[in-house]
């Protein structure tokens, strides 16, 4: 399977403020009663985008018309903590996001997103704040996340970004979905299994 080489993501960004944004908040469990991931995008951040008591649209950044069409999600620390549900990155991707820019990520969320070809990059809080300030000032600001140079460029500024090397390598070389490589390894898997008594049928 030939996968796209994801060397950069260019687009407008939307700041979703906060730390420890968990996967229940990204997609509430009641929307996981489904047997495919289709259509999850519309439920992204559902309970914080609509006031649960009044049903009114809240001031959540995704409801802000200025940021409509943004493809880069800017956020805080420990993004995606909690449940392992791939429904969370699926909902983010299906909503239209192509990359996430945070201070840090929860482990499982990071892996799930990378496997979908959606880069999760990090930068120091001050640097993310600079981008957030630029897009708040001018929402049409184009942000370039460059995975080769490990920098983000926007409004004439450049900031250093980071990404775990195994993920960066997989994205820029078009092997972010490991299934092909894992399938190639099956003969070796069978050899390893022979040495593990509990796997004998």
């Amino acid at each position: 399977m030939a996968l796209a080489k994801i060397t950069s993501v260019t687009g407008r960004a939307v700041p979703v403020v906060g730390n420890d944004i968990d996967t229940d908040r990204i997609i509430p469990a009641r929307f996981m009663k489904c047997v495919t991931f289709d259509g999850l995008g519309e439920f992204l951040f559902f309970d914080v985008r609509k006031d649960p008591d009044t049903g009114k649209i809240t001031n959540h950044a995704l409801n802000d018309a200025r940021f409509k069409g943004a493809t880069i999600l800017l956020t805080g620390a420990n993004f995606g903590c909690g449940s392992s549900r791939e429904h969370a990155p699926q909902a983010i991707q299906k909503y239209g996001f192509k990359a996430i820019f945070a201070e840090s990520y929860a482990e499982i969320f990071f892996g799930n997103s990378t496997t979908l070809g959606m880069p999760c990059v990090t930068a120091a809080r001050e640097e993310i704040a600079k981008i957030a300030a630029a897009v708040e000032k001018d929402p049409s600001t184009e942000v370039v996340i460059d995975l080769v140079k490990l920098e983000a460029r926007f409004a004439g500024q450049t900031v250093k970004i980071a990404q775990r090397e195994s993920a960066r390598d997989a994205l820029v070389n078009g092997r972010w979905d490991a299934i092909g490589e894992l399938l190639d390894g099956i003969p070796a898997v069978k050899e390893t299994a022979k040495k593990l008594p509990y796997l004998v049928a």
Binding site: A29, R30, C34, D169, L196
Partner: protein, 470 residues
């Protein structure tokens, strides 16, 4: 060179290095459930792939299953569709399915150990973050996403980078009224909800040595709430005694060989750790959460934090957000906070010992007027044993509804949900906003006996006082 259990299990299951530097790791046991597997089977079909080791793949249903409706079709057609999908997938690919009719159905993390499928020195994966539970047996158990469920189905492996290992030593005797749940809530409070990112947690020390398997499971279960993907306890005689005679445990000569092998996986004396944390068991008190993540916990005798007591700007923002959501008064005692619902159950605390302990204290007491109380056994086997011992009757007489096995109100994917901003005293694992089914619902995490104390008093209470524990 001396090695930790994590290093030994990793080495035994490493197939090869992948191009990006990760390892192709063999997953010996794959557990699946109805929420995160249907899409993976869909991907498998799209790619024209088979399940490589159906005999190492085990399925159950837990998340969506109604606990007060036993006859299909369920009223909720979406739940029924997911049920049908698991049945279809297991039948097509030759996977063992612990369906309700088998009498072995339950929460996936309760079923695996109960059946003896969860064994020391093995690797386990499941599309569920609480898979860390199985680490109680000295297994390395990963919660994974659906694309990885596909990978494990198709190749019995997944791509993974190696973790660092932090040894968390708890030594000494727990004080009366303090439980395994308090130990893990205390650890998460100390190390933070993301303190474990990049780590496997090795739980050790005399407190863990003295723990039963069920207590070890409660702690390992919530490793992920501290950001650690994996948590484990080294296997010992307690582990082997638990496993002996279980349906999937080896027998005869194979048993002796297995025990010898299992012992060899335990961390060596002198193994190197990336970090070591030591905790004195006697410093741990009954712990409850007051906020919107499991790290926002305090002992039952402490006051709810106020923004002024914050240790950093982040902490301050976290306190303000949590207090606003929880509608709790800053600086006031958590004790006495009125509750609306009491929930006993979940993969954290839905085992036989949890219900036994509650029954011991709640016998002859009544749930306070206006409190809805439900008790949900973690598996059909737990339910049956509770019923044999009369625990169901004790709980029912006290005013708890005794339900059928499932995840229930831990994440409310079935009809068991909070309504509006109800506050729930819960023995589950997550107090995230909206976690228990209502977008404004509030959760206070605590041990099962503390839930019982809250149920009978109608407010968050100190079980040591309510039940005269000393």
């Amino acid at each position: 060179m001396p090695q930790s259990l994590f290093e030994k299990v990793w080495a035994a299951h490493a197939v090869k290095k992948l191009a990006n530097g990760q390892t192709q790791l063999l997953i010996g046991t794959h557990l699946i459930h109805e929420v995160t597997s249907p899409q993976a089977f869909g991907m498998l079909r799209d790619l024209g792939l088979k399940v490589l080791m159906p005999h190492r793949t085990f399925a159950t249903v837990d998340h969506i299953i109604p606990t007060n409706e036993l006859v299909e079709p369920y009223k909720d057609s979406l739940a029924q569709a997911m049920m049908d999908e698991v049945r279809k997938n297991c039948a097509q690919f030759g996977i063992t399915f612990f369906d309700r009719a088998t009498g072995k159905q339950g929460i996936v993390h309760i079923v695996g150990p109960e059946q003896g499928i969860t064994q020391p020195g093995t690797t386990i994966a499941c599309g569920d973050s609480h898979t860390s539970t199985h680490g109680a047996f000295g297994a390395i158990a990963f919660g994974i996403g659906t694309s990885q469920v596909r990978d494990v189905l198709a190749t019995q492996t997944m791509a993974l980078g190696q973790l660092k290992v932090r040894r968390i030593e708890v030594n000494g005797k727990l004080r009366p009224g303090v439980y395994a749940k308090d130990v893990i809530l205390h650890i998460i409070r100390q190390l933070g909800v993301n303190g474990g990112t990049g780590y496997a947690y090795e739980y050790a020390g005399s407190t863990f040595d003295g723990f039963t398997m069920e207590e070890r499971m409660t702690v390992c279960n919530m490793s992920i709430e501290g950001g650690a993907r994996v948590g484990y306890v080294n296997p010992d005689e307690t582990t082997f005694a638990y496993l002996k005679g279980r349906p999937y445990s080896p027998t005869g000569a194979a048993w002796d060989a297995a025990v010898a092998r299992w012992k060899s996986f335990a961390s060596d004396a002198g193994a190197k750790y990336d970090d070591v944390v030591k905790i004195d068991a006697s410093s741990i008190a009954p712990t409850v959460t007051w906020g919107i993540n499991p790290g926002q916990g305090i002992s039952i005798v402490e006051n709810i934090p106020s923004p002024e007591t914050a240790t950093s700007a982040d902490d301050k923002a976290g306190i303000i957000e949590a207090l606003a959501y929880m509608k709790l008064p800053a600086g006031k005692p958590i004790k006495g906070t009125k509750i609306d619902v009491a929930f006993l159950g979940s993969c954290t605390n839905g085992r036989l010992s949890d219900f036994r302990e509650v029954a011991k204290y709640i016998k002859g007491r009544k749930v306070a007027a206006g409190v809805k109380a439900i008790a949900v056994p973690g598996s059909q086997i737990v339910a049956l044993q509770c019923e044999k011992e009369g625990i169901d009757k004790v709980l029912a007489e006290a005013g708890f509804e005794w339900r059928a096995a499932g995840c229930s109100m831990c994440l409310a994917m079935n009809p068991d949900k909070l309504i509006g901003d109800q506050l729930c005293a819960s023995s589950s694992n997550r107090n995230f906003k909206g976690r228990q089914g209502s977008p404004t619902g509030r959760t206070v995490l605590m041990s099962p006996v503390m839930v019982a104390a809250a149920a009978v008093t109608g407010a968050v209470a100190d079980a040591r006082e309510v039940f005269a524990v000393n």
